[in-house]
Symmetry: C2
Subunit: 416 residues, 2 copies
Amino acid sequence: MERRLWRKGAMLPDPHHLAALDAADPLGFARARFLLPDGLVYLDGNSLGPLPATAPALLAQAVADEWGQGLIRSWNDAGWIDLPVTLGAAIAPIIGAEPDAVVACDSVSINLFKLASAALALRPDRRTILMEAEDFPTDAYVMQGLARLAGVTLRRVPRADLPDALNDDVALLLLTHAHYLSGQVHDMAGMSAAAQAVGALTLWDLSHSAGAIAVQLDADGADFATGCGYKYLNGGPGAPAFAYVARRHWATCEPALTGWMGHAAPFDFAADHEPAPAARRLLTGTPPILAMRALEAGIDTFAGIDMAAAEAKSRALVQLFAAGAAAIAGVTVDPLPTGRHGAHCIIRHPQARRVMNALIARGVIGDCRPPDAMRFGFPALTTRFADIGLALAALQAVLASGEWQDDRFAPKGVVS
Amino acid sequence: MERRLWRKGAMLPDPHHLAALDAADPLGFARARFLLPDGLVYLDGNSLGPLPATAPALLAQAVADEWGQGLIRSWNDAGWIDLPVTLGAAIAPIIGAEPDAVVACDSVSINLFKLASAALALRPDRRTILMEAEDFPTDAYVMQGLARLAGVTLRRVPRADLPDALNDDVALLLLTHAHYLSGQVHDMAGMSAAAQAVGALTLWDLSHSAGAIAVQLDADGADFATGCGYKYLNGGPGAPAFAYVARRHWATCEPALTGWMGHAAPFDFAADHEPAPAARRLLTGTPPILAMRALEAGIDTFAGIDMAAAEAKSRALVQLFAAGAAAIAGVTVDPLPTGRHGAHCIIRHPQARRVMNALIARGVIGDCRPPDAMRFGFPALTTRFADIGLALAALQAVLASGEWQDDRFAPKGVVS
């Protein structure tokens, strides 16, 4: 493929070939499901999915009609009370789960705490939570807090040492499926089996997997999982996350963090907690309905999308971009993982924030991770092959011109 | 006052007098800040505040412009990243707190867990969480889960026994400021002092106080507090809650439930958790921006509102309604608490749900609590004195006609 895409001696792929790839793209139709600003190449990698075309009307109706006119009647009449369960069931096929195993609720941080606390309760004689060093910070922070409260040990080891660190004191193995920087993808079936072999449970953070690559929670033997609604699921800024519990734990899973919405009969106002059936027991407080409606619009963008095809397309996009960037002077490209990888890649420059600001000024958006990483994401539903050419041309121009050294591209703002 | 309001021998207050009270109401202007359906008497007590007039445009802008056009740039450019703190500071004066002591985040259930876990860490040698029996269920469920995980005891005693139950094993006293059924209001200063005298900390659930009655967290010596955004603060269905920590605990308060948004430098991606200053350390995961924008509209409805005046008005409305209902055959009215009370009252009927459904059909909305309670709320910002007359007339008609026995008013739906 590369031989046809790259003109001899050129750093940029041939636009005609990119156009041909777009014309042949079986997922090309999905981009029309979004409202993307004209002229923008949106390769955020991925802190916020773009706006689904149905979201503005759905939100407007939720605000004016359901809230404004229906008022509290909408908890029944508009199905508000069931949204965590109905949206969970809608997310389920995207991550290879049966419908009742998933609910939409809270944030990834909160769900990690809930699910890890449930795992500790299921393995009361074990005192270790095992996770990968260098994983996304919130996962470590949440586990540090839980370990302190529960009196267990959090052990963080490099990826290569994980198999050896699995022993009969490990209650829970927490893994991020697709790493937020390297894009490396764990073998879910293999790691689940290895954990199960020593009696440990697994908790999977799918933040960079759900909606990005193929996930088979049920088939691969996962115990628990959570992931973002606001990244590849396109659920809006800070959208509710989701939480998964495998069927074999439905009757016994009891998170330490609970609330009335996870009660078997919340409107009986019973004095003692009694967990609801299946994943519903993972709910806590009253669900944020407006955020849920936006998440609904995001999930709807996956109608008819085969996640294996989405992964294959993102893989092709990532590889094309990485190959092109590797040929541009001034940046280095992190080696792509062998085997499967996530829908993003990392390009490094000592002044990553400045280079990214200059790229954004040219209409190409990615994000940054300190100290020197630019992260570009290539979600299959919205990215065109032509965007690769545009992004590489912008990167080449920013670096060749040295414009990133301009004062207006100095780092500012909290979020990178 | 009553002598002028009630016509001799009549069960309903004189509409002319009610109109005069509305004309003289110093808070009457606030109703125009909301979009309420024509002809509806909305006395929900209070599961969902009505729609602020500014909310539809604010939400539409957040969706179309901030999300759709700004995309990830809006985390800086639209101030998204600071919304939990800026909205917390806006809530602060409504509950008598200094600005940096409050953040908007998560749900009441989640915040109860966070704050109670922080209290346990501050009192490591104590093994008891004390709360009032018959408090709102989620408070008990959350404490049951926390107590199990932390290995402490949850003790629930009747209100009258609370002072005697305070001893040197109590780490935390959890109280609801205004009770969700009786409307009884705890003496916050007195109970805080009593707790402090034995070295215990206090956590206040303000769900039925914040935006309903006057609250003075700082002045009354509270340690921690949380409360709903979706009730009297008018923040929308399932709106983010708020969390408060008194200044004297800012440097030492460390919830076991945390996340990257509560980190001192979230975008440094450090390996270990380091709490952010003041109440910001109570944040966990990525904030739900659309829900935050709706909450912002709700908080804005309190601009220029004196909460002491709001409490006085709601008090007058509650007393007027309770007196009228007491004279209607077929229902009983729970005695109003002596001293201060919340902005709601309870009317009982063996078929409460049927009676409420019949009232709703007549355009009067309250809510129900099993088995026999109808709860009516009288928020000062939206309730007119004339609404009391309309609601009482509807209640009288529903009971006198026996129409509540009609099949169409049979209980249905999950939420009551």
